[in-house]
Symmetry: C2
Subunit: 128 residues, 2 copies
Amino acid sequence: MSNPPRAASALDPAIAARLKRDRDGLFPAVAQSHDTGEVLMVGWMDDEALHRTLTTGRCTYYSRSRQDYWVKGDTSGHIQRVRSVALDCDGDTVLVKVDQVGAACHTGDRTCFDAGDLPVTVPHTAAQ
Amino acid sequence: MSNPPRAASALDPAIAARLKRDRDGLFPAVAQSHDTGEVLMVGWMDDEALHRTLTTGRCTYYSRSRQDYWVKGDTSGHIQRVRSVALDCDGDTVLVKVDQVGAACHTGDRTCFDAGDLPVTVPHTAAQ
């Protein structure tokens, strides 16, 4: 789980040393709405995407399918302004709190999870 | 991004068909506090972990380091009761809303992100 960076990056080496990356040099990044608390989406970052997110004020991800960086909102206008970034306790995920402009999901939904409810067959009340 | 399941599972085939798994057959699962909205942790699931999460009422993850399932709280008592589960728009992440008993993080912190703030050098106000 401590794979090397995907590519050279200007990321602070002290932060890079704390990261645990997958076999592709990536880690998940959870974007959460700063004010409403909604979980908006999960993207992927490498060291350089995290560096850009920390230093440009705009959420920047790495697309696994296109194998390139993308700045959220550059196409749609639905940008994410970075409010805070936190690394988790074992260094394999980041949580980015953002001000989301417009819809976070490319489908037009407010979040990427709005249309995906799965059936929970043992509901909360029965699980006590 | 549409790799086969890691192992045989009783997961509903209609749900399994919507999943996009990484090369290890896994996908990230974000646990969010149902009432406070806090993002508590990110774990990993395979088809079977998702099946157990949907049908037992307890969050179940797959440990990449131990290569085994773990039911959150079985050791610590800090269980996560499942309130809802949603798949994201492209099927590669799940969001689990839970009632968290006690601290979510093994360090004793309320969430796994409490101690990990990274320096944002272009803060929100400067990024407008």
